[in-house]
């Protein structure tokens, strides 16, 4: 690999004396030698998530879950003759770093698929890079509908953006309206106060909730936007109390949701706080304490206790000795990694049990047919790359635990 560089250099420098660095290519020859020599092929599944910084709790859960999926696949010899390896990169929640990681993963020819990223803002800078290399990317956490269906999905013109982009996470377009129907019909609350933390996830969720809620006939008593991490939400609390709303819908993650719920109840507000899967985390209950009692959160898939795969996953995760919890997106991440493994399996099966020299294109095609029973339910992808699993479950806090309230499928 250095030979070419040397060639170019001498051409530019017009000097043939630069023999100092005439080192051959050992790494490249070694790699190709080992892959052809050994019978077991090792392929890499990349991970891109924030492993440091404020979102690291979520990011580490993603990485560990992918690691668990890979270890499980290797242990059960899921794809005969193929061993999986993890290559975790840290995007630090930065689009720039995410893009850089994407180019690195693309350049490593052993990488057959990537799980990640966490943030929709990071995803947009990576999608095209992966797409040009036909490298499959499965996000466990991106909820922005436009990532798959294009910027004008709201008006009904859905156009697939990138054929290599898939996600196991549900989109705001499903979760928000589902929560709105639950609040309006099941809880019979007609006056809502909307709060978001001005991050992609929360803003999208609140927008879709609002549309559906007003369509159903509910009224929006007020809306506020809080600074993520500010923790003093007293002005919001005062506004909610003054508005006379009987329910609060919060778009955002639990680190902001918990203090809001807590300050609301402390100030004497009695209505429930309803949120999305970013709030459905045990830490929410831990942080908000008794104030979380009676709050609700929606989450994708069938109830955890009704799925054997989910129970196995949780048990295995505990047994895996990971120091960080699997967090909100652990299950989706496991399924994301597993969908790539399934696709690799399909490609290998179609090619006499071996992967072709450059399997990326084939894996990308195979992803569309992937279907298995995962941690979050049946996993497969529709024509946009979205999860076909439209089942959602409402959980409520009952005596310090998330308990299943209602499960159902969102239909239009």
């Amino acid at each position: 690999m250095r030979n070419r560089s040397l060639l170019m250099l001498t051409a530019i420098a017009a000097a043939g004396t630069l023999t100092l660095s005439a080192c051959g290519s050992r790494a490249a020859s070694g790699a190709s030698g080992s892959s052809s020599a050994s019978s077991a092929t090792t392929v890499t599944i990349g991970v891109d998530a924030p492993l440091t910084g404020p979102l690291s709790a979520l990011g580490l859960g993603i990485r560990n879950s992918v690691d668990l999926a890979i270890k499980t696949a290797n242990k059960t010899n899921e794809v005969p003759g193929i061993t999986f390896k993890i290559e975790a990169t840290d995007d630090k929640a930065s689009p720039q770093q995410g893009q850089q990681n994407a180019t690195t993963l693309v350049a490593d020819s052993n990488v057959v698929g990537v799980v990640g990223p966490l943030n929709s803002g990071v995803a947009v800078s990576m999608q095209k890079i992966f797409d040009e290399a036909n490298l499959v990317e499965v996000s466990p956490a991106n909820t922005n509908p436009s990532l798959t269906q294009g910027p004008s999905w709201g008006t009904g013109t859905k156009v697939r953006q990138f054929k290599s982009y898939f996600r196991t996470a549900t989109t705001d377009a499903i979760q928000g309206p589902f929560a709105a129907q639950f609040v309006y019909t099941t809880l019979a609350k007609k006056k809502v106060f909307l709060v978001d933390n001005k991050l992609t996830y929360g803003v999208g969720l609140v927008a879709t909730f609002k549309d559906e809620f007003t369509k159903l006939g509910g009224t929006v008593a007020g809306q506020d936007h809080v600074t993520s991490g500010a923790s003093d939400y007293s002005s919001t609390v005062t506004a909610i109390k003054a508005s006379g709303a009987d329910v609060v819908y919060f778009g955002g993650e639990y680190p902001d949701g918990a203090p809001l719920a807590k300050q609301l109840k402390a100030a004497g507000y009695n209505g429930p706080v309803v949120g999305g899967d970013g709030m459905k985390d045990d830490t929410f209950i831990k942080l908000a304490g008794t104030a979380s009692e009676g709050d609700y959160a929606t989450s994708v898939g069938a109830p955890v206790e009704s799925l054997d795969s989910a129970k196995t996953y949780i048990a295995n995760y505990k047994a895996g000795g990971y120091t960080d919890p699997y967090a909100a997106y652990g299950g989706y991440s496991y399924d994301s990694a597993w969908s790539i493994i399934e696709a690799v399996k399909a490609v290998a099966a179609a090619n006499n049990g071996k992967l072709p020299a450059n399997p990326r294109q084939a894996i990308e095609t195979a992803m569309a047919q992937v279907s298995f029973s995962g941690v979050t339910g049946q996993v497969s992808f529709d024509q946009y790359g979205d999860a076909t699993n439209k089942q959602l479950t409402v959980y409520g806090v009952k005596s310090g635990q998330w308990a299943t309230i209602k499960t159902g499928t969102f239909s239009g």
């Binding site: 709790a57 809080v226 600074t227 500010a230 003093d232 807590k262 304490g289």
Partner: protein, 308 residues
């Protein structure tokens, strides 16, 4: 508008906390003209120090017994960190140009955040114990025991500081050092010691603010120092940096400005979209810029002679 008293009270509680942190900025700045950027992290370590004491005590200890110990633990941690920072990071740079200690402070701030983050369980927010009792009602105003804690702490601290700076030998030495370090040195004042004491007092107040923050919001996080530190520093500048009462006043003004702007800006015609809590930080800075334009020395600051 019937929620005005509640908003005023909220602003007051928030402002008292800002004021407690701002004292540290203003004291250090007043004496060595250093923006101690890592002060927000001192605030954070204070909160975590208190939490460490609490978790050692176990959950079945009464909070009233635990609280004094937590305060001691938090204050000790924060003071230790501040004094060590002064000794090993700032003191060697005492005579370096302004930017060198500032970069050091940024480095220190990142270092402290990461160090706290590295402890097990600190990667996301930690639960902070709560004071029992409440909510209390005073007219239409609702408040918590933690809010009383903040206000009492702020009042006591200000009174103590006023006494300390005016009436004790060390306090007067501090004033002298702030006015003219060379002459102070000639008069036999150990300026190094005075500077350490300024850092330590700032840390004590910051730790109390950190505990208040934990008690009020029920959770603490390794990066809680940044936003709070930023606003506290703004408060210090607003009140007139270098002036201790100015820091308290600046804190209160800033707290009120944030709460009131979040509540009422939206009623100004044409501004209906700019009234959310998220915008309140913007308005706080707009007020800062306005104050600096018309009263560049801050609310209580004296007009200082131009520095070279």
């Amino acid at each position: 508008m019937h929620e005005l008293p509640q908003n005023l009270a909220n602003g007051l509680f928030l402002g008292a906390m800002y004021g407690l942190i701002a004292v540290g900025y203003t004291m250090v700045y007043g004496i060595i003209q250093l923006i101690n950027f890592a002060h927000g992290e001192i605030f954070m370590t204070g909160a975590f120090g208190a939490l460490a004491v609490y978790s050692k005590l176990g959950a079945n200890v009464s909070i009233w017994l635990a609280l004094p110990l937590m305060i001691v633990g938090g204050v000790a941690t924060a003071t230790l960190v501040a004094v060590l920072a002064e000794r090993f990071a700032y003191r060697p740079l005492r005579n370096a140009p302004r930017l060198a200690p500032l970069i050091t402070a940024i480095g220190l701030s990142i270092f402290l955040q990461q160090l706290v983050w590295g402890f097990p369980g600190n990667k996301s927010a930690r639960v902070f114990p709560q004071l029992p009792g409440g909510p209390f009602h005073l007219g239409s105003v609702v408040f918590q025991s933690a809010d009383i804690f903040v206000v009492v702490a702020a009042v006591l601290s200000t009174l103590f500081l006023a006494y300390f700076v005016r009436s004790t030998r060390t306090g007067r030495a501090m004033q002298a050092t702030a006015q003219d370090p060379d002459t102070a040195k000639l008069m036999g004042i150990d300026t190094d010691k005075v500077i350490v004491i300024a850092f330590a007092i700032g840390a004590v107040f910051a730790a109390i603010a950190g505990i208040s923050s934990g008690l009020r919001y029920g959770q603490i996080e390794y990066n809680m120092g940044f936003l709070n530190g930023l606003f506290a520093f703004t408060a210090a500048v607003l009140g007139g940096i270098g002036n201790i009462y100015g820091a308290m006043l600046g804190g209160l003004v800033l707290g009120l400005a944030q709460t009131l702007s979040a509540a009422y800006i939206q009623y100004i015609p044409g501004m209906s979209q700019f009234g959310s809590q998220d915008w309140s930080g913007v308005w706080a800075f707009v007020i800062l810029i306005l104050v600096l334009m018309f009263r560049p020395q801050g609310l209580l600051g004296e007009r200082v002679a131009d520095r070279a």
